[in-house]
Amino acid sequence: MTMKLKGWALAGSVLAMSAVAHAAPPSPTMLANACAGCHGTNGGSAGPTMPSLSSQSKAAVVDAMKKFKSGERPSTVMGRLAKGYTDSDFEAMGEFFSKQKLHVTSQQVDAAKVKKGASLQEEHCNRCHNEDGREGKDETPVMASQWLPYLQMQMELYQSGKRKMPEKMAEKVKPLSAGDIDALLHFYASVK
């Protein structure tokens, strides 16, 4: 009787152990949820210097994370965090965020700048930043409704050379004045 009970107890604990051992590897949701403390639930950011990840394409997320990991893209915590993941983790995160709908922000923008930016983007940006920045060609990130302070910080990093501008972007940005760029950022921040 005692032996039998022990046997059952053992079987029970083996079952419990195997349940732990056989857990599936972290799912896209498991991986992406951990990001949301800083980037907002489902990647919709409420913090003006943190980008929304919702509706970013898989390619954009993977490209950004790989560049954070290698150090090619400058960062504070992102490089340290990216080193904790594999390329397939990045793809899983990208899969999750690409399925989330655009996070629409309400922020103060300058109407005149938005108007100017809207016309500038048609000539200079929209071949890659498609649909008013709601979509992006290849690994081009979604710009629509991102927080203005975030967009401004990234543009500063580009212009200081700390963040490397893609060649095509550098060509398009070159003829633009500081006022033009400011207007473009106001435009993208305003897109709903």
Binding site: A19, V20, H22, A23, A24, P25, P26, S27, T29, M30, L31, N33, A34, C35, A36, G37, C38, H39, G40, T41, S45, A46, G47, P48, T49, M50, T76, V77, R80, L81, A82, K83, G84, Y85, D89
Partner: protein, 426 residues
């Protein structure tokens, strides 16, 4: 509803030591349980997120969140209020109405007085609530037996301010009332405690206040640990560069007793130190309700858990997240609690639907302010390995030692707060 003998004894037992005990006659069932219910105890960094994510992932599970207050005040950033940088605590305060409405969470404002793991019932000041699974996110309580003389009355004279709220306000008022040339004494307990860099950020923020308003004053830090317990080189440099002559840091000085009448703290019966303002951060353990439910481990302080489900290894059906849990390599931080809550929620939903579990993947990101414009951070990624939570090798770490990112990180920290509190309240 009739009380069985077990619940009756629990009630009497719980009421015996507590003031304002619930009347036995009121302990009727508060809300009848449907098919699947999770009860979450605690509405802080862990509890709100567990409640929300369970509902996000499975609307068929009823979620009841029980919290004693009608609001929550964040400990992260409360040091900035103490240092005079934040005008009030409103940016750190959340309410639960939007969270409840957006996700269909039933929020009950009540005190949990007992848990019956066998019957799967929690007793609250408003009645009993049955559960299929219970998530405890009770935070910390103090080990007052290890700090002689530090009773409720002493806390009003020598605040801990380690639970944000009236204690935080009291400490700031005391600093404001102190004469220039005064001494602030701050005592740090042995690790582990809530928020490993917290005492050192507080030191920085108090020093910031003194430098600006009471430059003849100083702060004496009595640390029970052999060295600064988190971000050590960064705090050391930050203090040297900004607060030389203001901060007197003394490692391996374990405060074991206080005398609120004399405004002194006693270091292991050997040496007493007097302050004009005394901030005692006492030794800590899991919140009392987790201790009473028999969830603490061999260390008698923290609750051992399964790394993927955060289910207690002491009691089936009860999950413990946040500061109260022993989560292996994950520190007792707000961000850890947030991350743990989502891991726990994911696997509770799997368990309640008979699905396969998912291996945990977690993050901690934590900022500490050195001055009003400079902050340093620690960040890490966690995974389950051999039944334990470990930091993923060759990842994570702290800010650059030369403070080259400190101004940028102070700006990012503000967005951190905005995002994490928005997650908890919407």
């Amino acid at each position: 509803m009739t009380l069985d003998r077990r619940s009756f004894l629990k009630l009497v037992g719980a009421g015996a030591g507590a003031a304002g005990l619930p009347m036995i006659g009121r302990a009727a069932e508060l809300m009848p349980k449907g098919a699947k219910r999770v009860v979450v105890v605690g509405g802080g960094y862990g509890g709100t997120i567990a409640a929300k994510y369970i509902r996000m992932m499975d609307k068929s599970i009823e979620v009841v969140m029980i919290e004693r207050n009608d609001h929550f005040i964040s400990c992260p950033f409360s040091n900035l209020y103490i240092g005079g940088i934040l005008k009030d605590l409103s940016p750190l305060t959340i309410k639960y109405d939007k969270l409840a409405a957006n996700h269909g969470i039933k929020v009950v404002q009540a005190e949990v007085t007992a848990i019956d793991p066998a019957a799967k019932v929690v007793t609250t000041s408003k009645g009993t609530v049955s559960y299929d699974r219970l998530v405890l996110s009770p935070g910390i309580d103090f080990r007052l037996e290890d700090m002689k003389g530090y009773d409720a009355a002493a806390m009003e004279i020598m605040p801990h301010a380690w639970k944000a709220g009236p204690q935080t306000v009291l400490l700031r008022k005391q600093l404001e009332a102190m004469k220039d040339g005064g001494t602030v004494v701050l005592s740090v307990p042995l690790s582990p405690f809530r928020c490993p860099p917290g005492p050192y950020e507080r030191t920085s923020m108090i020093a910031h206040y003194l430098k600006a308003h009471k430059p003849k004053s100083k702060i004496v830090v009595l640390d029970a640990n052999p060295a600064i317990a988190s971000k050590g080189p960064l705090f050391t440099k930050g203090w040297k560069d900004n607060y030389a002559g203001i901060i007197d840091y003394r490692p391996a000085k374990k405060v074991t007793e206080v005398d609120a009448g004399k405004m002194t703290v006693l270091i292991e019966g050997l040496e007493d130190v007097k302050g004009d303002v005394v901030n005692v951060i006492p030794p800590q353990r899991a919140g009392q309700i987790a201790v009473a439910a028999g969830l603490v481990g061999d260390d008698k302080n923290w609750c051992p858990v399964n790394p993927n489900t955060f289910e207690s290894t002491k009691q089936a059906g009860i999950h413990v997240i946040g500061d109260a849990s022993n989560a292996g390599a994950m520190p007792k931080s707000g961000y850890s609690a947030n991350s743990e809550a989502k891991i726990c929620a994911t696997n509770i939903v799997a368990l309640m639907n008979g699905k396969e579990l998912t291996d945990m993947s977690g993050i901690n990101t934590c900022y500490s302010y050195i001055t009003d414009k400079e902050a340093v951070s620690v960040a890490a990624v966690y995974a389950a390995k051999d039944g334990k939570i470990v930091a993923v090798p060759n990842s994570g770490g702290v800010s650059p030692a030369d403070f080259s990112a400190a101004k940028m990180e102070a700006i990012f920290a503000e967005s951190w707060l905005k995002n994490i509190l928005t997650e908890m309240s919407t």
